[in-house]
Amino acid sequence: VAIPLFGPFVSPRFGYAPQILLVEIEGGNVVGRWILNTAGMHPWQQMAQLRSLGVDTVICGGISGQMLHQLQSQGIVVINEVGGEAKDALRRLMRGTLRAGIRCRGRRCWRGPFWARRKR
């Protein structure tokens, strides 16, 4: 799983994050974590690198339609429009509850705009 990072957060735009968190999951457990340095790398080179590393899921805050097609054509699942901290997104992914458009802060996750969180 690859999560482009913006500090502790999921990067708001794929292709422009200076670092990508790579997580290897096996049998529902994290078996490895690495940070890929992508500063100065063209978004397309980042895509090529993820493909060559065998990434099969990308979690990001936003992605251009063209890059989305490109990743999907390589068989990579893209979970888009995910907000909040990367560790929370990863936790939800492992539980099987991460969906596009979800935002997490701590243990609280919600879909849709900011005010939707307050209504719950």
Binding site: S11, P12, R13, A17, H42, W44, M47, S64, N80, G83
Partner: protein, 455 residues
């Protein structure tokens, strides 16, 4: 009597606030403000239009989650302004709108202070540059990687290997019919390559008369011929440190091919009339719509040059073989033309799309673009209808097109050969045995289909 009471002050400030709100809502520039933490506190109507996010979706969220600019994660302009107190004016960036479209904008930032002069946040105004960008693209014919629009698996396959191709220094041969986007691909390779900061020089070999081609490519020195009053650098010199595109390389005359071969082989050349040998630090990309193997067989193209050019071979399929791209491309052209002409056309009616899907498009993407432009002139509604499209496309006798049977057979044969070679990891003897043909026949067929393993 004119004494200012707190009540009067409150009313006056309330009026001022509502006046400001009216002004903010009426301007064409997007405006948003953030607090010191970077959360959006104001988001005007134009900001909604440009980003695609509704105000209630945006307010309270971090600006980077909504704006998603290319600079957000590297050098946020607004953060810099808040930290330094210095405004930034007219910085060009691209943002990602809610639909995932990249929108070029020009941004201006300023710091927000309260009555005591304390910094309470920042304000950013932004202007949609899509039209300006479209006109620039049209005027300069400079298209980028972002302009490649395709869902076709065959094109996706090319795009997948493009970063690796670009990274290498190898010569690339791009083939495909006219209007399939060969030049776009060449530029994309340059853009992704380590030479991207260097020049990108395009030479249309078909457009330069045979007698001038040598001096155009390699330049000349003073006194080389009667009118040569000063040295003139050739395209290879101009492309030094960058990339040269030899467009329509199939049209290069035989005599010139030998000189081109020398540049590719030895990376050096001499200007016309010169005695000094110059080094060519240039990456060469060549394109052609001709069948070079056929030209080689006919003796009109040097075989050694062909192999020198074809280190990496990319073939762009014609539009009729990637029909799934027609709606996507049509939509892109409608969007661009609506922007450029200001006409409120939203798209194509299902009937008009059906007409396009049936047409064989011998002129490929360029022909589709022209058809949409034609429709834009005639269309006075929101949707393009069949009657707005060029008349030849609307002829009822046009049937869905299929590739000729001989073409199908060849395609099947080519795929079979590819499969056998892949299974045998490129071992020709084993592949020939698997196919039940002799090695010589395999060799001949590989050569016909251009299946030699490229570097």
């Amino acid at each position: 009597m004119n004494q200012e009471t707190p009540e009067k002050r409150r009313l006056a400030s309330g009026e001022e606030a509502s006046l400001l709100e009216v002004i903010l809502e009426s301007i064409a520039e997007g405006v948003f403000t953030i607090d010191r933490e970077g959360r959006i506190t104001t988001f005007n109507r134009a900001a909604e239009e440009i980003t695609g996010f509704r105000r209630e979706e945006a307010i309270g969220r971090w600006c980077f989650e909504v704006f998603r600019a290319d600079i957000c994660q590297r050098d946020c302009a607004l953060r810099r302004t808040i930290e330094t107190g210095r405004p930034i004016v007219g910085l060009q960036v691209t943002i990602l709108d809610k639909q995932g479209r990249e929108v070029p904008v020009s941004i201006t930032t300023a710091v927000l202070r309260d009555a005591r002069g304390e910094v309470i946040g920042g304000v950013e105004t932004f202007r949609d540059l899509s039209l300006v960008e479209e006109l620039r693209r049209e005027a300069t014919a400079r298209y980028t990687l972002q302009d490649i629009v395709s869902k076709s698996p065959r094109v996706q396959e090319i795009l997948n290997i493009l970063p690796d191709v670009a990274e290498s220094e190898s010569t690339v041969l791009i083939t495909g019919e006219s209007g399939t986007g060969k030049e776009l691909l060449a530029r994309a390779i340059h853009e992704l390559s380590p030479r991207r900061e260097g020049p990108y020089v395009r030479v249309n070999c078909a457009a330069i008369p045979e007698t001038l081609l040598e001096s155009e490519l390699f330049g000349y020195v003073r006194g080389a011929f009667t009118d040569a009053r000063r040295d003139k650098p050739g395209r290879f010199t101009l492309a030094q440190g960058g990339t040269i595109l030899l467009d329509e390389v199939g049209e290069v005359p035989l005599g010139m091919q030998a000189k081109l071969l020398r540049v590719l082989q030895e990376r050096e050349y001499e200007p016309l009339g010169g005695t000094r040998t110059l080094k060519a630090d240039v990456r060469v990309i060549a394109t052609t719509n001709r069948d070079l193997t056929k030209l080689v067989r006919e003796g009109r193209f040097r075989e050694d040059l062909y192999w020198r050019l074809k280190v990496i071979h990319l073939h762009l399929p014609p539009l009729r073989e990637r029909r799934e791209d027609i709606p996507l491309l049509a939509e892109t052209f409608v969007h661009r033309l609506a922007l450029r002409t200001g006409k409120p056309i939203r798209g194509l009616s299902p009937e008009a799309m059906e007409v396009l899907m049936r047409w064989p498009f011998p002129g490929n993407i360029r022909e589709l673009q022209n058809a949409i432009e034609h429709a834009f002139i005639l269309c006075k509604e929101e949707l393009i209808r069949p009657e707005h499209l060029p008349s030849e496309m609307r002829r009822p006798e046009i049937l869905p097109t299929f590739p000729p049977v001989s073409g199908l057979r060849q395609e099947a044969e080519r795929r079979l050969l590819e499969e056998a070679l892949a299974r045998c990891e490129g071992n020709r003897s084993r592949a020939a045995k698997l196919l039940g043909i002799s090695r010589t026949t395999l060799w001949r067929k590989m050569r016909r289909y251009g299946l030699f393993v490229s570097k």
